[in-house]
């Protein structure tokens, strides 16, 4: 409803809610400190009680692969699957699993091995497909998790679940939780920046939605801000034609005088906040174009990321921008790359998707490492589910959605290099060891940022709502440098 019932003071209120719960004496709650909290809100300083501990990661770059990349063709190696190729998937493996309407009517479920050879790579010997040679070259820097799982079987609920912790729309996204909890470390850019790209494999790919970077019930200033490849880099960023920077500055100075006049009459702290927000907008108008100005990038950058990194809107370009945003301490950067939904045309489409993403993703990890940023930046690569090891349509034609197991990889920010976590059965169909639910992964992301996911909640509709939901979620210690093996 329109109204100010959730005034910007709302942040301060929830802050007080926390302090009240944590047993800090009322003395610490002098009203002036609450008001300071409001004024500080202009810079989005996050919640006062966070981080809970010193996290290895200061920031996250989430390379989200929308549509459900095929774990079986890319990461999850099974020595045995070859000999089952072309045979009916045993009922004991499928185990009455609920299938999407797209293959539930199929009469045969033929096991279909990986479309491209897989090899052991690097010193660690992690298996990886020929389809992703660049990623294969960085296996010693990453952890591959082959035992991810989700209950969702379709894109909308699946992608909503992994990004917000719930299949039902309306909850805040991972990035907005990070912004709400930790705030921005940069006074010129938002804490949570989102970039979109469309793959060449399946074009258009499955739709995505603003709820995936939305703030749900958290204050909307924590929603992801789209950084766009055409038009203004941030919505409404550019001044209109004919208005130069000097004139804009004059306008803001005048505006500040007028607003201070209002403040003199009403003494409302929101007026001061607004003045500060206009100043931040002015700084953003300089900062954001700098981020997309690649003219100072040396040739070696484009060698590393590939020529497509020169072209705005490509995945590689967005990876390069992600590095530039990380350099500027943006807390949470999320790329959404569409087109991973290979129900058919598996060979050509999956190949095209890999070509879009492989070099840029690997380059980002290498680049961050070269710049000394990898240790403090958690990089995640993965989608909302995997794909069936049985064929959809004819053998080799395509694969349906598969939530029982899928693979992602992660690097930096306190995560082990050269490691594989979890395993699946011979058919890459069921998890054989160390299952990792989506909520466990989200708990782990928060952990890397120094947040205890169980203690990180926001009161909504009477519940202390958490990113990781009501069922118990566990930090995946096995992927952490300092966790047990």
């Amino acid at each position: 409803m329109s109204g100010a019932s959730g005034h910007a003071l709302g942040d301060a209120i929830s802050r007080r809610g926390f302090l009240g719960q944590s047993g800090i004496g009322l003395g610490a709650l002098a009203a002036t400190s609450l008001l300071n909290g409001v004024a500080r809100g202009a810079g989005n300083e996050g919640r006062g009680d966070l981080p809970h501990f010193i996290g290895k990661a200061k920031r996250v770059i989430y390379l989200f692969q929308s549509g459900g990349p095929s774990h079986i063709d890319l990461f999850d190696y099974s020595a045995a699957i070859g000999k089952h190729h072309g045979t009916e998937l045993p009922d004991s493996i499928r185990g009455g699993q609920r299938l999407t309407g797209m293959t539930s009517g199929q009469s045969k479920f033929l096991v279909s091995g990986p479309i491209s050879p897989m090899k052991q790579r690097g010193e660690c010997g992690t298996w990886m497909s020929d389809l992703v040679p660049h990623t294969a070259s960085i296996v010693d820097k990453i952890t591959v998790v082959n035992s991810m799982h989700t209950e969702a079987i379709n894109h909308d609920p699946g992608i909503t679940l992994i990004n917000t912790g719930s299949q039902i729309p309306g909850r805040p996204s991972v990035g907005s939780w990070a912004s709400y909890g930790l705030g921005s470390a940069n006074s010129d850019m938002p804490a949570y920046v989102v970039m979109l790209s469309q793959g060449n494999g399946k074009n258009p790919g499955q739709p995505i939605f603003s709820r995936l970077w939305g703030s749900g019930f958290l204050p909307s200033r924590h929603q992801g801000v789209l950084m766009r490849s055409s038009g203004d880099p941030l919505l409404y960023l550019n001044d209109p034609p004919g208005l130069d920077r000097a004139t804009r500055r004059e306008m803001l100075d005048d505006l500040a005088i007028l607003n201070k006049g209002s403040y003199a009459r009403f003494a409302d702290p929101e007026i001061e906040t607004r003045i500060a927000q206009y100043e931040m907008a002015f700084r953003m108008q300089v900062a954001a174009p700098e981020i997309v100005d690649l003219s100072e990038e040396p040739e070696s950058t484009f060698k590393l990321y590939g020529e497509s990194a020169r072209q705005p809107g490509t995945f590689a370009y967005n990876c390069l921008l992600a590095r530039r945003l990380a350099e500027r301490d943006v807390r949470f950067v999320q790329l959404f790359h569409r087109g991973w939904d290979q129900h058919g045309s598996l060979k050509s489409h999956l190949g095209a998707q890999c070509k879009d993403t492989d070099q840029g993703s690997a380059a980002l990890v290498q680049d961050l490492e070269q710049r000394g940023l990898l240790e403090e930046t958690l990089v995640i690569w993965g989608g909302e589910f995997g794909r069936t090891s049985y064929a959809q349509g004819g053998l080799g034609n395509g694969r349906d959605h598969h939530g029982r197991c899928f693979s992602i990889w992660m690097a930096g920010g306190g995560v082990k290099g050269g490691h594989v976590h979890g395993a699946t059965d011979d058919f890459c169909y069921n998890i054989a060891s160390d299952p990792v639910h989506i909520n466990d992964m989200n708990a782990t992301i928060l952990h890397c940022l120094g947040i205890d996911h169980e203690r990180f909640s926001y009161k909504f509709q009477g519940l202390n709502a958490r990113l990781t939901g009501v069922e118990e979620a566990k930090v995946v210690r096995g992927v952490l440098e300092d966790g047990q093996a």
Binding site: L9, Q21, A42, R98, L235, G242, L243, N259, E454, Q461
Partner: protein, 996 residues
């Protein structure tokens, strides 16, 4: 937070203790609910140690093996296990446990101790108790009582201009007009304000303003939601809502019609339209969806919406298990669910359209003529987009036009149509580039020689999914639906060597194939044929080597059946002449048929343009009927008998015990007709029964929120145990009782609020007030807060004189940055979905009130989202109110606001001199006269900008070019540009977007 607790925090604990009793609902329940109920509350499955604290019975039973211990011993904290455990020093003994993340403060522990000492009296949860209204009293008397208790005094009355603007913003969402201001200033009699209130309340603008909030709760949108999120038509329902507010429909009727209008005796069309409220749920037709799972989801969404909007209950918490905080079992949830589970609504939603059950209806506020006019204008806009597409597309087409003209040569005469036998004796075959048919696209070619001139030729062709055919480098035509082969007249053949080329596309993961037959009649009357077969060459995806085509199946065989027998639709071939002539015609002179010829030809060459054109086709298709009859369909409720089961853990396919429709036991009995199953109508009437403790409280609270910025119960969405205790419980009950007694008269309720002295106070804050009551829960001053998203935009339009006041009608498409819908949607998907690309309107649509802006749930209007509007995917009854740099950028740079600044600049420029211009602008935007500082700063600014633009008139012109609105011919560019910047500064002022 209760007043008492707020007081506690504000004034320190010493305030507590002297005299006043501890009260369970106000003081104790919030502590227990927050910290203890998750293990010791109403959810029986989660109870630990056999202890439940939510009710006196279970809380006071004997515990332990010997049965000799009690959690609570009335009057004796030292004998009460509850007290001993919460105050224990040993962390192992202490409650709540360390790992629960709950912690009690010293003050809370002491409160619990005092409560036990005073007898540990329980009260039922306040919101479930009957409404207990005191006789007499007024808003002001209740608020003053609170202030006195806290030792505060109300603020003085706001000045008249502030008051006029405030009441105008609150009741209509618009600032007062200069005429209204002038009249109010002149009329100083004691009833002047009341007259303003009465007039505002009755205005159409007020109906629109009230509807905005209702749309949030009802999760209204113009798209279906979920992943594909295509077009739906629910605007007739929106018009019904506006109409109801316009006629001050008693709120109980308003509620009953929306929940069960279809079940009313002799239900009218409009009463059925009202049930669109329930059908505003999202629905999906994403491939692979399990329909029953989603049918259950839509039903649960209706439960959630009704429970939130009318009862302030978080019922969905009981979908999977008993409610953890409120006395609501999972069984009761499904009894409630059963009311909505009896409809024919399917799980799989319709594509690009409303999903049944639906009816066609008329708008109650907008005449069929106006609807036809509006939709006709939209159709004209879409048509215009074919002639002048978006800039990037125009540039592409221009380039193609030039290149094509250069290759076409002189115009050749159009061939006469000749009846030809389309097929040779040997039927053509289905071919593709590879036998496995997995490639997404394939190209085919064949060269052949003709010995004589051609008199006529026809091509029969189809391709799964679609193809584009060229002969001798010129487009012949294209197919779109493989089940409908097309026949084209061919004019591109010549004596000698000819080349036919086909590009086939197979976008879905299904078999692919091309089949065609070319029949040629030479000037000597002979007929020859050329059919698709293995003699053709083919290649995959435009890059592999050419090789012989693979024959997939003979005609009449294979996966496609006997398509030759099905006949063919007549394809519209590209005669070289028509295209040639069209391209040679001046742009402004081209007929729509010529544009069509050009666009068809270009679509054959450019997939980007083809996608764009297909989108235009689809968008036209879904509104064409409305353009003809001025009506539209609306999704409504109906009745279809269906059993309801408890769903184990909320899973759609885990049927537990069967349940019948019914109300929760914690509330008054919900009765139906004797011996009959209870219906939605029974439910609706029960909700608005005077005995029901929730609906009237919840509704008046939300209107209090609308007028005062925050509800008396701040958690407007939750009146349960976890919600906040009312700041003024007696006032809430008094208002609720009065509202019911008045016959649910909303206008009267709102008038009561705005006529109160509490409402009319100044919103100025003093440091003392800010320190003592930072959240203004005690209302020692009027609240001051930013306008809701819609009214930020509407106010700028009104102040600049641009606002189009048309009431009701279909949604419109004002300014929006390019690409926002397309980059997240299925735009370009061959099956073709609507609302995948935003096609901005080009005229009046830009100035309608924001309530009419087309709302796509997966990409809501960006400026609305930036100013805190929800996505409308689910019910929402309270918006947060943030203050961000992105908001600053919208007000500064959105063409909508820049165009408004220009229009306001024109008004200010016409005032005669700078000071008068500034005064006029301030009056229009801020509803008051300017301060001396404002006059000085802004007139100096105007002079400075004018001087600056004098040296760079091109910049001035560029600035004035923003927006669709035409610039008047005789305008003084430099002066107007300067005024535009002054106006923009005004529109960016904190006060401009604030209700104060």
């Amino acid at each position: 937070m209760s007043l008492r607790l707020a007081g506690c925090l504000l004034f320190g604990l010493s305030h507590f203790g002297n005299g006043e009793d501890v009260r369970f609902n106000r003081d104790i329940r919030p502590i227990l609910s927050d910290n203890c109920f998750s293990c010791h509350g109403p959810d029986e499955k989660k109870v630990k140690a056999g202890l439940q604290l939510h009710a006196p019975g279970p809380a006071k039973v004997a515990l332990g093996k010997a049965g000799d211990r009690h959690a609570i011993v009335d009057g004796k904290r030292q004998e009460s296990e509850l007290w001993l455990r919460i105050s224990a020093n040993d962390p192992d003994d202490r409650m709540p446990p360390l790992d629960s993340n709950h912690r009690l403060s010293k003050a809370e522990i002491e409160l619990l101790g005092r409560w036990i000492d005073e007898g540990a009296n329980y009260e039922g949860h306040w919101a479930f108790q009957p409404i207990a209204a005191k006789e007499g009293g007024s808003i002001d008397s209740f608020v003053r009582a609170g202030l006195e208790q806290a030792g505060l005094k109300p603020s003085k009355r706001a000045d008249r201009s502030t008051l006029l603007r405030r009441v105008s913003q609150d009741l209509t969402g618009l600032p007062p007009t200069p005429e209204e201001m002038a009249a109010f200033t002149k009329n100083t009699d004691s009833e002047a304000f009341e007259k303003v209130v009465d007039r505002s309340l009755k205005s159409p603008a007020a109906a629109e303003r009230l509807a905005v909030d209702w749309l949030d709760g009802a999760r209204y949108a113009d798209t279906n939601g979920y992943s594909i999120d295509d077009h739906r038509d629910m605007w007739i329902w929106r018009d019904w809502v506006i109409h109801s507010f316009l006629h001050n429909k008693p709120f109980d009727e308003f509620a009953v019609e929306q929940i069960a209008g279809d079940l009313l005796p002799k239900a009218t069309e409009q009463q059925r339209v009202a049930t669109g409220f329930l059908r505003n749920s999202m629905n999906t037709h994403e491939g692979g969806t399990i329909a029953e799972e989603y049918r259950v989801t839509y039903t649960a969404d209706k439960v959630d919406t009704v429970a939130t909007v009318f009862m302030g209950l978080t019922m969905k918490c009981a979908q999977c298990h008993d409610h953890k905080y409120d006395p609501l079992t999972q069984r009761e949830y499904y009894q409630f669910f059963a009311f909505f589970n009896t409809s024919s609504e399917p799980g799989g939603g319709a594509t690009n359209a409303n999903t049944g059950p639906l009816i066609e209806a008329s708008s109650p506020i907008c005449s069929a003529e106006r609807v036809k006019l509006d939709v006709g204008l939209r159709l004209a806009e879409l048509q215009q987009m074919r002639v002048t597409p978006e800039p990037a597309m125009s540039a592409l087409r221009d380039e193609w036009e030039r290149a094509t003209l250069a290759t076409l040569g002189p115009i050749t005469p159009r061939a006469t149509s000749v009846d030809l036998n389309l097929f040779p004796k040997k039927k053509p075959a289905w071919i593709w580039a590879s036998a496995d048919q997995t490639s997404a696209s394939a190209e085919f070619r064949k060269e052949f020689a003709l010995n004589s001139e051609v008199k006529a030729a026809k091509l029969w062709v189809t391709c799964d999914n679609e193809c584009h055919v060229e002969i001798n480098g010129q487009a012949v035509g294209e197919t779109e639906d493989w089940t409908r082969p097309k026949v084209f007249s061919v004019t591109q053949l010549k004596k000698g060597t000819n080349r036919i080329e086909v590009r086939g596309v197979n976008e879905a993961a299904s078999p692919a194939g091309l089949i065609l037959s070319l029949a040629i009649k030479s000037v000597d009357g002979k007929i020859s044929h050329l059919g698709s077969d293995k003699s053709w060459q083919a290649r995959v995806d435009g890059k592999a080597a050419w090789k012989p085509a693979a024959v997939i199946a003979e005609a009449g065989r294979g996966p496609w059946g006997d398509i030759l027998a099905g006949g063919a639709s007549k394809g519209k071939g590209q005669s070289n002449g028509a295209l040639n002539l069209a391209l040679r015609t001046e742009r402004g002179q081209r007929s729509s048929a010529q544009w069509k010829t050009i666009n068809e030809a270009f679509a054959g060459k450019s997939s980007r343009f083809k996608i764009y054109r297909n989108q235009l086709n689809l968008e036209e298709r879904v509104i064409r009927k409305t353009a003809e009859n001025g009506r539209a369909t609306v999704m409504v409720m109906d009745y279809k008998s269906r059993k309801t089961h408890i769903l184990v853990r909320g899973a759609y396919d885990q049927h537990g015990e069967e349940v019948k429709a019914g109300g929760p036991a914690m509330l008054p009995p919900l009765s139906g007709a004797q011996g009959k199953a209870k219906t939605r109508l029974d439910l609706a009437r029960w909700l608005v029964d005077p005995q029901h403790p929730l609906a009237s409280r919840v509704i008046v609270n939300r209107y209090w929120q609308m007028m005062f910025g925050a509800g008396l119960v701040k958690t407007a969405e939750d009146f349960g145990a976890q919600g906040e205790y009312p700041s003024h419980p007696e006032l809430l009950d008094w208002l609720a009782a009065d509202f019911v007694k008045s016959g649910w008269d909303l206008r009267r309720l709102l008038k009561k609020m705005v006529m109160s002295e509490t409402y009319q106070q100044s919103s100025a804050v003093t440091p003392e007030l800010l320190e003592r009551d930072p959240y203004n829960r005690l209302l020692a001053r009027a609240p001051r807060y930013r306008l809701a998203a819609e009214f930020v935009r509407d106010s700028a339009l009104a102040a600049s004189g641009l606002l189009n006041r048309d009431l009701g009608g279909p949604s419109v498409h004002p300014y929006q940055p390019d690409g926002l819908w397309a980059e997240v949607s299925h735009y370009g998907y061959p099956a073709g979905f609507t609302s995948q690309k935003y096609l901005p309107g080009r005229g009046r649509a830009n100035h309608r009130r924001s309530i009419y802006t087309a709302w796509k749930r997966t990409s809501p209007p960006p400026t609305m989202a930036i100013f805190d509007a929800p996505s409308r995917e689910i019910c929402s009854v309270r918006r947060l109110n943030t203050n961000t740099p992105l908001q600053a950028l919208v007000l500064q740079n959105d063409p909508q606001f820049l165009e408004a600044a220009r229009a306001l600049g024109e008004i200010m420029a016409g005032a005669g001199n700078a000071k008068r211009g500034v005064a006029l602008g301030v009056t229009r935007v801020l509803g008051r006269s300017p301060t001396r500082t404002e006059l000085k700063v802004l007139s100096l600014a105007h002079a400075r900008y004018a001087r600056s633009f004098e040296t760079r008139p091109r910049d001035a012109k560029a600035l004035l070019s923003v927006g669709e609105r035409q610039l008047a011919g005789d305008v003084k560019v430099v002066d107007l540009a300067a005024w535009t910047l002054v106006a923009s500064t005004l529109l960016n002022m904190d006060e401009a977007v604030t209700r104060q």
